[in-house]
Symmetry: C2
Subunit: 289 residues, 2 copies
């Protein structure tokens, strides 16, 4: 297991830019990251769109940043009238990830159609939403494979099943990987975020099943007890109950040597100064991951 306390160069730390999305635009965030010695980042699509893709690409290059991922494609469930728009949108997401030099595109699959794509006709048929996810991901993979962009399917916590993701456990995500990429050679893998999987009694067994080749991204933050909001009350590493080192040990036992990507969606941290958040984040990267 890597000794992150000794990683003074922050080689294995990545800043997911949603962590400080409220404090400035992407270029402001990149400047702050560079100021703190961070050299790996993972931007979100809306943040890239806000400054323009070309400018974002140039900023990544000028800063000498590496990316650990690009957030995010997916949101598949919709209705027939809006299906082509979903397919086009996801193809654009792949192209943007390529332009930015991301090693993978994170996939958040969406929940029921009225939440995944609000223009859709509503339906509470979650089995149908899941069938749409498999179909949509299959179509997306056909394209992503041809251009060489790995897709990193992220199981999201079960409390997000209606509104954000109807893929909710690592077992379920791996079942989809087995179905669409049985030989593990098409570039379909997993984003594993401790926040979404720490509660799962079989997460260690499923991490073993996943294997090194299917782990494309590793996200960290913490589960606060109590948690005040289902979306925007994630904790800084060390402030909650997740045994992050145990989960990191499990993925590193597979041979994983990628980044610990910090993704904290939090009203509390969004309200604090950018430099303060990065200072605490780096400290906790050393002591609580």
């Amino acid at each position: 297991m890597r000794d992150l306390a000794a990683d003074t160069d922050l080689r294995h730390l990545s800043l997911n830019t949603a962590t400080v999305r409220a404090q400035g635009d992407l270029l402001t965030i990149f400047d702050a990251a560079a100021r703190h010695g961070i050299s790996v980042v993972s931007p979100w699509r809306d943040q890239v769109a806000a400054v323009g893709l070309d400018r974002a690409v140039r900023a990544v290059k000028d800063s000498g940043f590496l990316l650990s991922g690009y957030c995010r494609g997916g949101l598949f469930p919709t209705d027939d009238a809006h299906r082509q728009a979903e397919r086009d949108d996801n193809r654009r997401a792949v192209d943007e990830a390529l332009a930015l030099g991301a090693p993978c595109l994170v996939i958040v699959v969406g929940g029921l159609p009225q939440y995944a794509r609000p223009e859709s006709a509503p339906s509470n048929d979650i089995a149908d939403a899941r069938a749409q996810v498999t179909d949509g991901l299959a179509a997306m993979l056909d394209y992503a494979e041809t251009v060489g962009m790995p897709l990193a399917l992220e199981p999201l916590h079960p409390m997000t099943a209606a509104e954000r993701s109807c893929v909710n456990t690592l077992r379920q995500a791996l079942d989809i990987c087995d179905a669409l990429d049985p030989d593990r050679n098409r570039g379909l893998g997993i984003t594993l975020d401790v926040y979404h999987v720490w509660w799962d009694f079989e997460v260690m067994a499923q991490i073993e099943r996943m294997g090194r080749d299917r782990l494309l991204a590793f996200h960290v933050c913490d589960w606060l007890a109590p948690t005040a909001d289902l979306v925007t009350d994630r904790g800084m590493m060390g402030d909650g109950v997740i045994e992050i080192p145990k989960l990191r040990a499990a993925v590193e036992a597979l041979g994983f040597d990628g980044a610990c990507e910090v993704e904290i969606l939090s009203d509390a941290w969004w309200a604090r100064p950018l430099d303060e958040v990065l200072t605490v984040m780096i400290e906790r990267y050393h002591t609580a991951c």
Copy 2:
């Protein structure tokens, strides 16, 4: 599948008394239930304690109520210093369930020790908490079996893993049943609450695995989207996204003919008049279950 719209006698409806816990004590709730033609109830321990066990037993008898369960034993994770107190407390819960004539005692296993039993030394070791759950439930079952009180293990939603229950899926709960009661003859079974399991991609397969003999109680309410609070924002049936009739059809396909027990923990419904809540609940029992 039973036609609940035609059940004008409310023979298959049970009122879990937590649904209106803010509106009055247990005797007040019993009076209101009788007034609305409800004859099956499921009381909570603290509500029974507040009026006294003897008085509660007498009220159940005088009203001619049947019980569909008694809530709740469990909360196993603690520390060595408080282990005997936990064992004694759970033995009392079994005795109370017997005195009240409950067909089963609902088991909520608890999360990390500092939340399950706040006097305990804190620990974030969820695997250890789960080992304590199995040990504690085994000890409790030894006693409950001798007095003939079935224990109805309830998997709770993963968002409760830290603070309320580290048994979070039907698969996990059934694994525990298989371990402690492999021959299905000791009286260990399941409380299945749609709120806790609706999101699970394998819930239908696990319901099949469960079988009729292991299903001891069936709870209904709804998942609101958005959900404002992790504990007290459950919805009235029909107000959320859960396909309740599909889940009821699945348990009735096993042969289940027990009550639909309505358990709604909700600040919004607790703020409304008792009779109004029962009126809406009965209407939705007919139309949305």
